[in-house]
């Protein structure tokens, strides 16, 4: 049996994994597509969600139950001792006695890393503010591999809000380890932060910072779309302009051909024309469904059951 890349480890940040480890994790995920063995029977997952989440929380819940395990937890911090002033450290130390593994989502950036220090149990980051969301990145990479057959050397265009989205940040950084060529399409106000651009320069990743969909070459293989949030704009008129500029529809994606893969982390608002759900490359629901498979693999690997 191949070495378990996650045995005795946490899943906090994509920075913690090298390219070979990411490949190994994705390879292990495939087994969970067709197998539903109760590998985690008798184990308990604590879903510690200090801020609301639908997909991440439900998919971890589903993943644990598919593996025969049980889940406990909370869906917001209002009903916890945090609202009474308890420190995150203490909350984690208490929860440690109730479970075998934890998933934490928390608005403070770095909270998952702190939680991992507080406990001897494995911790999986379900999103810490706008920092990291590694399970989303892994499910995106898994979907990319499923759709295109590889994660190396892909030509990917990211479109929309590249400034605030942790999903995009984490995926861009990960793709840069696999020789991707990137087009970063956004209005100037939502451009990828300088820190990330610097990382791309350091890794020698070919990237193009552009403002128009028309600047994406026709041979791009993946369009990764994001939701542009109204609250990011001071000027409502500017929001409307940007929102309409980056909407993709059957007309403006036709030039990329049928082999194009279209991705979106969801939820979406109106950045994708409804007709594109029928596009052969539309992968957003695959991403959501793959979330369960990837999280099954992560739970089983972290607990040494796979």
């Amino acid at each position: 049996m191949k070495k378990n890349p996650l045995l005795g480890r946490d899943v906090i940040s994509m920075r913690d994994f090298g390219a070979a480890e990411i490949r190994a994790i994705l390879e292990r995920c495939r087994w969970f597509e067709k197998n539903r063995e109760p590998l985690l029977q008798g184990k308990v997952l604590a879903n510690l969600f200090f801020e609301p989440s639908t997909r991440t929380r439900l998919s971890f819940d589903a993943a644990m139950k598919r593996l025969g395990g049980a889940t406990i937890g909370f869906a917001d911090s209002l009903s916890t001792s945090i609202s009474k002033g308890e420190s995150l450290w203490d909350t984690i130390r208490v929860a440690e006695g109730y479970c075998d593994i934890m998933v934490i989502r928390h608005p403070a950036e770095g909270s998952a890393r702190l939680a991992a220090e507080a406990t001897r149990l494995p911790v999986i980051n379900g999103g810490d503010g706008s920092n990291q969301h590694p399970t989303q990145t892994l499910l995106d990479l898994y979907t990319l591999k499923q759709r295109t057959g590889r994660i190396e050397g892909l030509k990917v265009a990211f479109v929309g809000d590249l400034k605030y989205g942790r999903t995009v940040h984490s995926l861009i950084r990960s793709l840069s380890w696999f020789d991707a060529k990137l087009w970063l399409v956004s209005p100037p106000s939502l451009r990828l932060p300088e820190d990330f651009l610097e990382d791309l320069r350091e890794t020698g990743t070919e990237h193009h910072v552009v403002e128009e969909l028309a600047a994406i070459p026709a041979d791009v293989e993946v369009l990764y779309l994001t939701r542009i949030q109204k609250e990011r704009f001071v000027d409502a008129v500017e929001y409307e302009r940007v929102r309409n500029t980056y909407q993709v529809n059957p007309g403006n994606v036709a030039r990329f051909g049928d082999k194009l893969t279209l991705m979106h982390p969801l939820p979406r608002v109106n950045e994708i024309h409804a007709a594109l759900d029928a596009h052969p490359g539309a992968a957003w629901f695959d991403q959501a469904h793959n979330g369960v498979i990837v999280r099954q693999a992560l739970l089983a690997l972290c607990l040494g059951a796979a």
Partner: protein, 173 residues
């Protein structure tokens, strides 16, 4: 200092031990010797006052400060001479975060007893504030920690929120 070598005497007309590049014409203007204490040389220009602040040097301490002096090595540099206080290795490492090329000499009775060129540690704990207002270390119950990811120029990354800090963004606690 090598074993068996004679202790070096700190001269009154030296800006600091080992500071050979300071022109003699400037030397008198810049100094007088420290009897016992610490000389910090090769501080980056305009960093001397910050160094005093992070070292918590008392307002009534005897300190000689040279700011924006000519330096063959650095172009411009600052010098600090702190009378009556021998800095610890930890304190010297702290100053090195502010000015990585700084050199230190500990003086006792005008004799240099220790020369120290600090090396930046791989991890810095508890000295620096993360600039990210959303970082979990904004909770005063959490001690900050930074990974040193670049030494010249200095670049740090918050161990928790992963935000990078450049030299000019470093804020000491």
């Amino acid at each position: 200092m090598g074993r068996g070598s004679a202790p070096k005497r700190a001269k009154a007309d030296e800006s600091s031990p080992g500071a050979a590049e300071v022109k003699p014409a400037n030397a008198k203007m810049q100094v007088s010797a420290v009897r016992s204490g610490t000389v910090i040389d090769h501080l980056g220009p305009s960093t001397a006052f910050k160094a005093l602040k992070i070292l918590g040097v008392a307002a009534d301490a005897t300190v000689l400060i040279g700011v924006n002096l000519d330096s063959a090595k650095l172009g411009k540099k600052d010098i600090l001479k702190i009378e009556g206080r021998e800095l610890t290795d930890d304190e010297m490492n702290k100053v090195a975060l502010l000015s990585p090329q700084a050199t230190f000499s500990i003086i006792r009775d005008f004799v240099v007893v220790k020369k120290f060129r600090p090396t930046l540690p791989d991890t810095v704990e508890g000295l620096i504030r993360c600039v990210n207002p959303a970082c979990v270390t904004q909770d005063p119950r959490v001690t900050g920690r930074f990974l040193v990811i670049g030494k010249e120029p200095l670049k740090l990354r918050c161990y928790f929120c992963e935000r990078s800090l450049r030299e000019n963004e470093v804020e000491f606690l």
